[in-house]
């Protein structure tokens, strides 16, 4: 504006005594007058108009709202639900008449149960003196104690129910989730709790969804995931000992099997050998028998042809072969009756040695 003002001043000086009261060019004077005339009819200053404009603008803005792809806008007129706005630009009556609550219906939210990192819950009545009532600590069906942590992932499936049917749907989800999990775990042994987590997760999810639907929370459980279940720390060692005992048992069995496998095939081999040896023996006997028989028969055949002389020959041949080999020989007359004095056999031998 200062620039215009200077320009006007220069014009004034330049134009000299050409004109009216203010020394402005007449057309400009007209314009200012017109503005003044425009302001007059309301009889008020410019302040209220500006306020009014801002108010109008604010009302205008409150009539438009935007919903993202993953959201729903729940519109209430004087508190009463009227419609649900869908993604895009939406219009409603100005605030005061209609209000909109935008709910994210595709985002997956999660709640954790029984983790060490769990933050203390706000507004819960218990906290002091309830250390013994830890979230993850549960009684099993065989009255043992197990540690069961889990995660629930959920999504809002019905924004109307979620907003209006339950005062604190998330709190309800937490409470229900715990109650349901305990119910499922309560019907299982500690062994099942540790080894059959998937089964538990499936049953708990079904039951929980049923309860949430019954309460019209508008919450849809996407996934219920069991984390590593365990037994409380003081008992863990004894559970490990069982696993170790299982290993030991297997080891013992393997060792025995090894022993067995070491001994039996060797024994089978030996048995085979014994049998083969027996076969050899039998063969030997038979063959020898056959040989002996053949020999005997051969000799016999010749003998049969000349019995007397052959027998005689064989006898003499034997003597011929035998006699030189023999030690002392005593030939005694047949009439000699008393033999013993002559035959001091042992002594003779002893003297020779």
């Amino acid at each position: 504006m200062s620039w215009d003002w200077e320009k006007l001043k220069r014009q004034q000086q330049h134009g000299g005594g050409r004109g009216g009261g203010l020394g402005l060019p007449p057309d400009l004077e007209d314009f200012i007058n017109k503005i003044k005339a425009f302001r007059l009819p309301g009889g008020l200053g410019s302040g209220p108009i500006i306020i009014g404009l801002i108010l109008l603008l604010a009302i205008g803005f409150s009539m438009v709202y935007k919903i993202d792809r993953n959201e729903e806008g729940v519109v209430q007129r004087f508190g009463k639900y009227v419609r649900t706005g869908h993604p895009g630009l939406n219009f409603k009556w100005p605030s005061g008449i209609e209000s909109v609550t935008i709910v994210n219906v595709t985002e997956t939210q999660r709640e954790e149960f029984g983790f060490a990192s769990e933050r203390p819950q706000r507004g819960r009545r218990f906290s002091s003196g309830s250390e013994g009532i830890n979230v993850s600590l549960m009684l099993t069906g065989d009255l043992n104690v197990g540690l069961v942590p889990w995660i629930v992932q959920y999504r809002i499936k019905d924004s109307y129910n979620f907003l209006f049917k339950v005062q604190d749907p998330k709190g309800l989800l937490r409470d229900m989730s715990e109650a349901t999990m305990r119910m499922v775990v309560g019907d299982r042994s500690i062994n099942e709790v540790i080894s059959k987590r998937d089964e538990i997760a499936v049953e708990a999810q079904q039951l929980l969804q049923l309860e949430l639907d019954k309460a019209e929370t508008g919450i849809n459980i996407i996934n219920l995931e069991m984390k590593k279940t365990n037994v409380p720390a003081p008992v863990q060692q004894s559970f490990n000992a069982v696993n170790q005992a299982v290993q030991e048992k297997e080891q013992m069995i393997y060792q025995a099997r090894e022993d067995y496998n070491k001994a039996i095939p060797a024994a089978r081999g030996e048995a085979e050998r014994t049998i083969k040896a027996a076969e050899g023996y039998a063969l030997d006997r038979v063959n020898r028998g056959k040989g002996d028989a053949k020999r005997f028969l051969a000799v016999y055949n010749e003998y049969a042809k000349a019995k007397d002389v052959t027998k005689r020959r064989l006898y003499l041949e034997m003597l011929q072969e035998l006699f030189p080999k023999l030690g002392d020989k005593y030939i005694i007359d047949a009439d000699q009756k008393n033999l013993l004095p002559l035959l001091n056999l042992g002594k003779v031998n002893g003297a020779q040695q």
Binding site: F78, F164, D175, D187, I190, I275, Y330
Partner: protein, 310 residues
């Protein structure tokens, strides 16, 4: 100008009156309209409504409300002390009665505390612990083992009530007591049940003992199994060697028999000759340097020593 002086204040007064008379009720709310403490009407529908400005609107929630119990130590039927933490859900179904008999939400919660806690206590004390823990008589899968399933009262006990019936009875006990207050108790559930600290320690002790026993059983099972295998080994060894011996003897016997028959057949032709030849052989083999021979001159061999005549 006279009209103006009247109309403008009048308009303003009407606007103010309408503004003061109008009230909005949210979807989650219901309203009791009172005039100097006296209930005129209730409104449970959401939306815009009007009342005289001097009448008072008291808002109550219409949706499902939560109640979270104070965890307490309660003895069960068998006198085991346990922590029980329950929660309930309730609704104001009769705002007028609620307004008259209760007043506001904090008061309602306090009254619910008394009623529900008492019911929970009653039912827990009347039942065995196992009844509150289990919901069915589903057969538990115990230690996976080849032999010797543990037979314990805890494992074979058949529940007659179960958790769901217990909570149903808690609800049944508490429900009529709150009904006259305009409150509908939707359900009561046991959120957490646990042993109290001292009991827990002894339960841990029992669990440890139980596990040790299971471990021992595994070990002895291993021992037994291995002994069985070793026994099998010995048996199989004996079987194998004895069978081999048997077969060998059979074979040998057969051989012997065959040989015998061969000999018999051959020597049977002339036993005397056999005897002669065999004896001859034996003499040759059996007699030697260390044998002394005493012969009579009468013998065949020396007959020529005496003379040559026949």
């Amino acid at each position: 100008m006279k009209y103006r002086n009247v109309i403008i204040p009048l308009l303003i007064a009407i606007v103010v009156l309408v503004y003061l008379s109008a009230f909005a009720v949210d979807e989650t709310e219901q309203v009791v309209i009172t005039q100097f403490g006296k209930v005129i009407r209730t409104k449970t529908e959401a939306g815009l409504d009007f009342k005289w400005p001097w009448r008072k609107a008291t808002y109550f929630p219409k949706n499902l409300l939560g109640w979270d119990g104070e965890p307490g130590q309660i003895p069960t039927l068998e006198k085991t002390y346990i922590w029980v933490d329950s929660f309930a859900r309730w609704k104001i179904v009769d705002p007028e009665s609620f307004f008259r008999r209760v007043g506001d939400i904090p008061k309602a919660r306090r009254q619910l505390n008394d009623i529900i806690d008492a019911a929970v206590r009653n039912l827990i004390t009347e039942n065995k612990l196992i009844e509150a823990v289990r919901k069915s008589n589903r057969e538990l899968v115990l230690e996976v083992s080849s032999s010797g399933t543990r037979q314990d009262e805890r494992d074979t006990y058949a529940i007659t009530t179960g958790r769901q019936k217990i909570t149903a009875r808690i609800l049944a006990q508490a429900k009529p007591k709150v009904a006259e207050r305009g409150i509908a108790l939707v359900d009561v559930k046991i959120k957490r049940i646990n042993y109290v600290e001292q009991v827990r320690q002894s339960v841990y002790g029992r669990m440890i003992a139980e596990r040790n026993q299971i471990a021992e059983r595994y070990r002895s099972e291993g021992e037994g199994e291995s002994q069985k295998i070793l026994g099998d080994k010995e048996r199989d060894l004996k079987q194998i060697t004895s069978e081999a011996y048997k077969t060998a003897q059979e074979i040998k016997g057969k051989g012997d028999a065959e040989a015998t028959s061969i000999y018999a057949k051959a020597y049977g032709v002339d036993p005397a000759f056999y005897s002669f030849t065999k004896t001859r052989e034996i003499y040759t083999e059996a007699l030697g340097q260390d044998s002394h021979l005493v012969l009579s001159t009468n013998s065949e061999f020396f007959k020529y020593l005496k003379g040559y005549t026949e």
